[in-house]
Symmetry: C2
Subunit: 261 residues, 2 copies
């Protein structure tokens, strides 16, 4: 059996992006990772700040942004503009040949508008396909793709799409070519048994434990969709999934959460 | 002698970008152009609008934006975010495999901060190099690069850079590999003899005529740097330069201005 090349797919969220020192430090560490890698970033807090400066109302339901046309413009300006290019320039500074992307660029991530059922989320897209072949082409050119959480429908419409989900979908699609590790990087040490105790990291979560935690309502609302994304990836073609602090990228011996089926 | 493949480098400005119908129509026509092509877009008017909504002062000297740190953020949000991704999604709709770019992406355009002499332009960059090899790699993958007017210094700093100049620099650099036509596309029919008479197109301008016009102060201030960019490109490796209305892209028999040495 042929051994696949390793690929790291890492996702960073608002708490790193919003903190200049934390971001600089992460980008430095990420640049040192050997071999192909893909970065996905969120940016909701910055979008909310810009909306507030522009007097545009931000409405969230279950931690998801209701994306009106006006909110979509703000999302695209913030995610694809300021945050994405700041991260790209920061990686270039560390000799990592980053290329900033939305799903519309090179038609990399196609999505469908989420149907309005109980909630009309507006211009929110659910991923239907990832153009893994073009992405592989970029990696083979020595390029590090950097995705923000924007997709398109191939008919001219951009969408706001959850960054955790994009990371999971990209990792899953790239599993066809690579031995993929998916790393959700955030401010805590991992998934916590007790949200009040920052050290109460649950080190291993399998499907059974996930059901238990979910049924016992033992984990926070925000963590549930993240865990779903992790197990979606594991059930496709992803070898390893970790939820950990940003420092995990330079030291994989620190306490963190590992997911498995 | 080997015949080089043709490459179109087109630049569109604010008057097309700001007008949804004009932009849709241009993107449709641009998508029909056969063979490799690169698009560069401006967007100053949108940046000025956003600045005004945010209560940030816009200061222009000789038609050039004084780019404070706050203005740079607005420029990056507008050019690299909203406008670039709207254009990319619009091209994808027309089956043109567009990839939106700043100079930081894949390290494509490196610039130096313009030194503060008589005027301190702030975060404005003057292009020092174009990574034509990577750009050629993208074209060979069937990708259409779409550049906004943002560059970087490889040390983490983004810059605002004139879109006309970026178009000229890209066209010149790509001349090493391609038979390049550079097309400055705007709202008028071409360079006008008399700004009051929209039909008074000067059909041919060579270096001698350019000097005459400049010395006689017969052309508008805004047109002078554009003409300089045209002749810079011709003096490097660019075969043809045209200044014309957007319709020129589908009908090259309409009245327009052709530049030659």
């Amino acid at each position: 059996m042929e051994t696949k090349q390793k690929l790291l797919v890492a996702k960073i969220g608002g708490n790193i992006i919003e903190d200049k020192n934390a971001l600089d430090s992460f980008l430095k560490d990420f640049s040192k990772v050997e071999g192909p890698r893909i970065l996905i970033h969120g940016g909701g807090k910055s979008a909310t700040k810009l909306a507030s400066r522009l007097g545009v109302r931000t409405e969230m339901i279950d931690g998801r942004r209701i994306t009106s046309a006006e909110n979509l413009e703000i999302v695209v300006m913030t995610y694809a503009g300021l945050l994405n290019k700041t991260i790209v320039a920061g990686l270039q500074k560390n000799n990592c040949n980053a290329l900033g992307l939305t799903g519309a660029d090179a038609n990399l991530i196609v999505a469908d508008k989420r149907p309005a059922q109980f909630v009309d989320y507006g211009y929110v897209g659910d991923v239907t396909s990832v153009n893994s072949k073009t992405l592989k082409g970029f990696l083979e050119l020595g390029i590090t793709p950097v995705f923000c959480a924007v997709t398109h429908d191939t008919n001219g419409q951009l969408f706001n799409t959850n960054a955790d989900t994009i990371a999971s979908e990209i990792a899953s699609a790239m599993g066809a070519y690579y031995d993929v590790s998916l790393f959700y990087c955030f401010e805590l040490k991992g998934v916590l048994e007790n949200i009040e105790d920052k050290d109460s990291v649950i080190e291993y979560i399998n499907l059974e434990k996930y059901s238990e935690l979910r049924d016992a309502e033992a984990i926070s609302d925000g963590m549930l969709p993240k865990l779903k994304n992790c197990f979606d990836a594991l059930q496709k073609d992803v070898s390893k999934v970790h939820i950990a602090n940003a420092d995990f990228i330079k030291d994989n011996t620190i306490k963190h959460t590992t997911l498995s089926l």
